[in-house]
Subunit: 490 residues, 2 copies
């Protein structure tokens, strides 16, 4: 506050003292050009003087062109101090390290074509907001508030909100996971859970085995930490067992990262038998698995399938990352890590070092939401909704798009490999002109944006349909089909 | 779900099929010892069979000692499969990297003496929960809900909730900061803001200059990234200018990290003149400053003082980290980074790589809370409350504790240097037996837990008083005084 060092004297008109004080502040650099002055009301209150004196001073200064008052916005300094330039500049961009550079370079929100109003977008795999049962959530918030009150607003615990931890432990048990000697850490969604595990348990140059293709955010994080990513080919049942065994024996990997429930982007659901084969191979090589339970709750083309973590019994070989918020309330950012309890104890300290803890208000409201049964009602409801959309999409793609294969057993997306190695990015450029957007498949392959000429996945793309109306789905897929014909002719 | 691969046949009693299926599941390792079976109701629903068949099967298995039903808890497997051990174990602790190790080692929640019920604790510098104006916050939540609804629960933007960003920009302007060519990133509190800046802009071995003593969480994070920490002595006015100039010219630092508003732990408030001297030195060496605006809003022993960032005009030399939630709603974890807009653009990608974004529900509720004027009312109210407590603490310390000096101009804590190099940890051990806790000062010094014999700060401690009743303050400080006399005699 510019007036904090002004002692009002009795022997001089107050408005003059204020005027001089402001002029001096500008001169010595305390008041910068464009900076905002406190309002006349604030000054009069702060100095305990009449407001009229302040108004007179401001009017005088304004008439001299030193300050300007914009109605309803405030009063601003118009000129620069003469005697001293306080500023200095640093080139931060040049100082960004490899970690920051990589996260920037592979930030697809910035590098991919942006959604514009009115477009038909198959780019996102977010859930449809209008399906959220808002009244249930509001009630849960009010329940949390009534039970916990001020506690939710003061510091909580890095591990998470105890009732929610217990709820998720029970939830894991229901999925046949043995939780003895295991524990849970609540995180800000999958992304933070993965970041915590990777940043604490790997070193630059370590190798991670994962599916090809796989979740682009996981790829991005592994790259940012300088890891060596080995992608293993998938067939329609999941990871190819022969390729996996080769990779495990050739690369001495630190971890496997798997999305057996709904591979992103292919939507392939790995069934129990294949899960067992995969699991046994990792066990054979004593390589721990990071299992991403992505959209597990949505499974609707087959009966529930237990996570790979359920195969490990009281062993600790699998670190399971869960996140209901991929289908429900992504805005709340709630996920969890289930792992060996001694490991969770350390990851808890890591979480504390990253951001102390996740919002206790959100955790508590989410807990009361789950506990009330609202989540189960919600899942039942959206399963049907998304299944219908899924069927529509598959039918239309089969009809209008010349594909080599389509994968995806539901979820909120399917994955298409185009015929004749058609370049999905060229296709996207055409579709974009017709206001249709989708996610090119190359971003799910480690060699994306490589300088090498051969880019895997360049003839693939992902269609996310959770938030697209049936009408737009039909319209959009027809437009994609039309542009394929255009490209093929050319 | 264990029954997902059971096809019910017509030519065999159903209860027998279920019994066999469970036995087989146990044998082949699908059902582990201690794992929970689905309830009879769930099984009957899932297989679309009568519940009585399931009950009969479960009863049979129970009579054979294969499973056990615990009333109100569930049914569990009692025995182990014979033919195959699916488990494997990994030594994660041995795999934790230097980053994780450091965050664990310096996690004071785990390493320092814990609070136990009934103790008088001066350890925490959290605000007092009962001062939170809960009704105002509830109203803000409902406002946010009414205006934004489902939007708050779906994916948001990494940079933050736009109205809150705009609010903080305005707030920065009021503190005389020139926001042209600057931008704001919303973070999960100060800790995440600092983590984002440090993890993106430094490399192992870089030097950071900071105050001695300084915030232990910042020290911990810098250590975790392998930085070289140079602490510069403070006098009662803030950083010692001569020592600072020496450090800047000898160490070629990458950044300065400063808490001019209320140094933690000393509580020293750096006044405008000293701020300018400090700022000019950093400018002279072109070293950017990370300014921590810690508890700036609480200043009550003097008039408001503008942040160092306000001295930089349209230059980008200062990165300002703000967090109202140190005094208000720490549980919500909301803070921000104000910096060069090109830098914020990259830090936004880093934020997305760490956890996508901060909770939009919290950001929106917080925004409506600030906008309503409730925050200003709250600050006015708590300032008086904490000032009274501060005066009480200072009076009692002066009376009962033989100190070399006391620092702290308010906030929620003061800092005491004991006479005759009395060991604060020995003092703490005695006080702990009397159920009194405080924070030993050595954790705020970089050489804490060094093997070197000379440990700076070992004769200091911090008294946090925000959550201690006046009665307990008096009782607690008397006990500390009594134990000092005991130690001095010995």
């Amino acid at each position: 506050m510019i007036f904090s060092n002004l002692v009002v004297k009795k022997d001089e008109p107050i408005y003059l003292q204020i005027e001089k004080h402001i002029k001096q502040g500008i001169k010595n650099g305390e008041l910068k050009k464009h900076s905002k002055l406190p309002s006349t009301r604030e000054v009069s209150k702060f100095l305990n003087i009449s407001r009229n004196s302040v108004i007179s001073a401001y009017e005088e200064l304004e008439s001299m062109g030193i300050i300007i008052t914009k109605r309803g916005i405030g009063t601003f300094v118009l000129i620069e101090g003469e005697n001293e330039n306080y500023e200095y500049n640093v080139d931060y961009i040049e100082r960004i390290n490899a970690y920051g550079d990589t996260l920037k370079k592979f930030d697809i929100v910035k590098s991919e074509l942006p959604y514009k109003k009115g477009m038909i977008s198959f780019k996102s795999i977010s859930p449809e907001s209008h399906l959220f049962n808002l009244d249930d959530f509001k009630r849960s918030f009010l329940d949390a508030w009534a039970y916990e009150g001020a506690n939710l607003l003061n510091y909580g615990y890095a591990k998470g909100y105890k009732p929610l931890i217990d709820y998720f432990l029970e939830y894991m048990k229901e999925k046949q996971i043995n939780t003895i000697n295991k524990d849970i850490l609540i995180t800000n969604g999958f992304t933070e859970a993965f970041d915590i595990v990777i940043s604490s348990l790997t070193n630059k140059g370590d190798t991670i085995i994962c599916e090809e293709p796989t979740h682009n955010t996981a790829l991005k994080i592994m790259k940012a930490y300088g890891l060596n990513i080995v992608q293993v080919k998938m067939d329609k049942e999941g990871l190819n067992i022969k390729s996996l065994e080769e990779a495990l024996s050739n690369h001495n990997p630190k971890f496997g990262y798997l999305i057996p429930s709904y591979n992103n982007p292919t939507g392939i659901v790995t069934k129990t038998e294949r899960r067992k084969e995969i699991y046994k191979l990792f066990r054979k090589f004593s390589v721990p698995i990071i299992e991403d339970g992505f959209n597990e709750e949505l499974l609707y083309t087959s009966s529930p399938i237990d996570p790979i973590a359920s195969l490990c019994g009281s062993g600790n070989g699998v670190i399971y990352i869960g996140s209901l918020s991929k289908i429900l309330f992504p805005g709340l950012r709630i996920g969890w890590i289930l792992a060996d309890d001694k490991l969770v104890d350390i990851l808890e300290s890591v979480k504390r070092g990253k951001n102390i803890h996740s919002s206790f208000l959100d955790q508590s409201a989410f807990y009361y939401y789950l506990k009330s049964g609202a989540f189960n009602r919600y899942v039942k409801n959206v399963r049907k909704y998304y299944r219908d959309k899924y069927n529509l999409v598959v039918n239309l793609v089969e009809k209008y798009i010349p594909y080599e294969y389509i994968t995806g057993e539901g979820g909120l997306h399917i994955f298409v490999k185009l015929k004749n190695n058609l370049d999905a990015r060229k296709l996207l450029d055409l579709c974009y002109k017709d206001n249709v957007l989708f996610m090119p498949g190359d971003i799910f392959y480690e060699n994306m944006q490589n300088t090498s000429k051969f880019i895997t996945g360049n003839d693939t793309f992902r269609i996310g349909f959770g938030r697209v109306t049936d009408e737009d789905i039909e319209k959009g897929i027809k437009i994609i089909g039309k542009n394929i014909r255009l490209l093929t002719k050319a």
